[in-house]
């Protein structure tokens, strides 16, 4: 893995991603979560309140984590492919697997900062929820990794990665994942909740998968997405204009 991580590609990616206007969007879901937590803490401070697991679990894992990962994951490589600057990176002998893994690592790190860390902060701000906060933090770290692999792969596979990602998050995970049990086996949110629930079991988290299932499926999805992205990037073609 370390030989696949290219620090030059990582440095360029950090600067390019954080320098874009859409970088402002990264922080918006986190700010909303923390603000919501502060409001609820002021209005419902009682011990045993249900809102911490509902807000941190539902909003945190259904909105904050997937949307932040979607914006970042599709930016780190997809934005460069869209604007054409990726060609300067790809016209070098750097292995395409190294490009994909580095972009994935940067996306995962940034998602951890903009989604998992705010989840921890919000959890610590909520009353009597320290253990839940750490459980959700670990779940969000896991989710940051898996979502990043999926969305980086989506940005290589399609130029409409954001639309595809939104459909996945809203329709598959948000709707089908809660209505149809089988849909959870392909839900990154449920892998993350499965890990969090194993650390601090809480019925209100509505975790539908066990720890073992979550870890195994999450690993398969992450590795599969990275292999798929590498294969696709190895055959990267500039969109031609027919004569």
């Amino acid at each position: 893995m370390s030989s696949l991580f290219n620090p030059v590609v990582a440095a360029l990616t950090f600067r390019a991603t954080l320098g874009r206007r859409r970088a402002v969007l990264f922080a918006i879901p986190a700010v909303i979560l923390i603000a919501l937590t502060l409001v609820l803490r002021a209005t419902h401070p009682a011990a045993g309140a249900l809102w911490p697991s509902n807000v941190l679990g539902d909003f945190g894992f259904s909105v904050l984590l997937p949307l932040t990962a979607l914006i970042i994951g599709t930016s780190v490589l997809g934005a460069e492919i869209d604007d054409g600057s990726a060609i300067h990176l790809l016209a070098t002998p750097v292995p395409r697997s190294s490009v994909v893994v580095t972009k994935f690592a940067v996306s995962a790190m940034m998602t951890m900062v903009f989604a998992a860390l705010p989840e921890l902060i919000a959890g610590l701000l909520a009353p009597h929820s320290t253990k839940l906060a750490f459980a959700l933090f670990v779940g969000a770290l896991v989710g940051s990794v898996i979502y990043s692999a999926v969305f980086v792969a989506a940005s290589v596979l399609t130029s409409r990665a954001i639309a595809v990602g939104l459909l996945y998050v809203l329709i598959w995970e948000g709707l089908l994942g809660n209505l149809v049990g089988g849909a959870r086996i392909l839900s990154v949110a449920h892998y993350s909740l499965g890990v969090a629930n194993a650390i601090d079991p809480d019925q209100n988290l509505m975790a539908g998968l066990t720890l073992a299932t979550s870890v195994i499926l999450g690993t398969i999805v992450t590795i599969g997405a990275l292999i798929l992205a590498t294969r696709r990037l190895s055959a990267f073609a500039i969109k031609g204009e027919p004569a």
Binding site: D83, G84, I87, H88, A91, P93, A237, I238, G240, A243
Partner: protein, 309 residues
């Protein structure tokens, strides 16, 4: 001595053929890829650069396929036409980052050499976002040259350059060519190719219309039939001029119309050189002399039809 070889290469998008059965070998020196917009020049450059796979045929760079082979970039540099670079970097940072990606042993030396070669030393510390189009073009060339490649591909490299930058870039490419590198650049401007390269490949509508020495192809271009619309001060002068021109060896045909006369000539130079003197000597006032059908597309189209015949 690195060479680029295309053998019966075609590339299509759906049912649109962008490049049709091209066979060519490009060796050391400067070669111009000439053709009108949409002729398939960029498709050829992208295929050679490994950013498009041929739909049919074989394409090798230094004996190895370039498609799905990032190793080819050790000997190949690419200057894409699209004006998108990491604009948040300075010119020096961009070239240096490229040198790092190539894992060059002497980063500072390679970066300085490439920047000096492209005459960008004065602007190297400025962010690329502040560069003019011509400067962006030159910093892209510097990045493409940083690893001292044997093959350099440039897609419309002179776009956006002012005349001084253009001359400097032409001198640089000529120098690189004489050093034994294989330089291939595309252009739709005849004069750019004429000034820079002895060898050209002319593409029209995805096909190779002409290939070889520029001067021979230039002669083909100028000896094609030319058509001029000519107008004098009166209908009687039109008729008199028609009578004068009919007897000349360079005149193929003269056609009178209500708006003057249309002259077809096979000798562009002789017609243009003599028409003024002929009208003056015969006391005819020349009001209008308009070449028709002089677009580059028509010139290339003539070459293609000539080749087909």
């Amino acid at each position: 001595m690195s060479a680029i070889e295309l053998s019966n290469v075609s590339r299509w998008y759906g049912n649109v053929v962008a490049v049709n059965d091209i066979t060519m070998t490009i060796g050391p020196g400067v070669t111009g890829l000439l053709g009108p917009n949409g002729a398939g020049k960029s498709t050829i450059i992208h295929m050679i650069a490994g950013f498009l796979g041929p739909s049919k045929g074989t394409l090798t760079v230094d004996g190895r396929p370039s498609w799905e082979n990032p190793g080819v970039y050790k000997i190949l540099g690419l200057v894409p036409e699209r004006d998108s670079v990491y604009a948040f970097l300075t010119g020096e940072q961009f070239v240096r980052a490229t040198a790092k990606l190539h894992k060059l042993p002497d980063l500072a030396g390679a970066t300085r050499r490439a920047i000096e070669m492209t005459d960008m030393a004065d602007a190297a510390d400025r962010k690329i976002s502040t560069y003019s189009k011509g400067m962006r073009q030159r910093i892209k060339v510097a990045a493409a040259l940083v690893h001292d490649p044997q093959i350099l591909l440039l897609d419309e490299p002179f776009n956006g350059m002012d005349p001084r930058q253009r001359i400097h870039m032409m001198d640089l490419l000529a120098k690189l060519g004489t050093e034994g590198r294989t330089i291939l650049f595309s252009s739709h401007i005849l004069e750019e190719v004429e000034r820079l390269s002895g060898t050209i490949q002319v593409m029209v509508a995805g096909r190779l219309a002409a290939s070889g020495d520029f001067r021979a192809i230039r002669r083909l271009m100028t000896s094609r039939p030319h058509v001029f619309n000519v107008r004098t001060s009166s209908a009687s002068d039109d008729r008199r001029l028609a009578a004068v021109l009919v007897g000349r060896p360079f005149t193929n045909a003269v056609e009178l119309s209500g708006k003057g006369l249309q002259v077809r000539t096979s000798d562009f130079g002789a017609f243009c050189g003599q028409i003024a003197a002929l009208t003056r000597d015969n006391g005819i006032a020349l009001r209008e002399l308009l070449p028709t059908d002089e677009s580059l597309e028509s010139v290339f189209g003539y070459l293609l039809s000539d080749q087909a015949n």
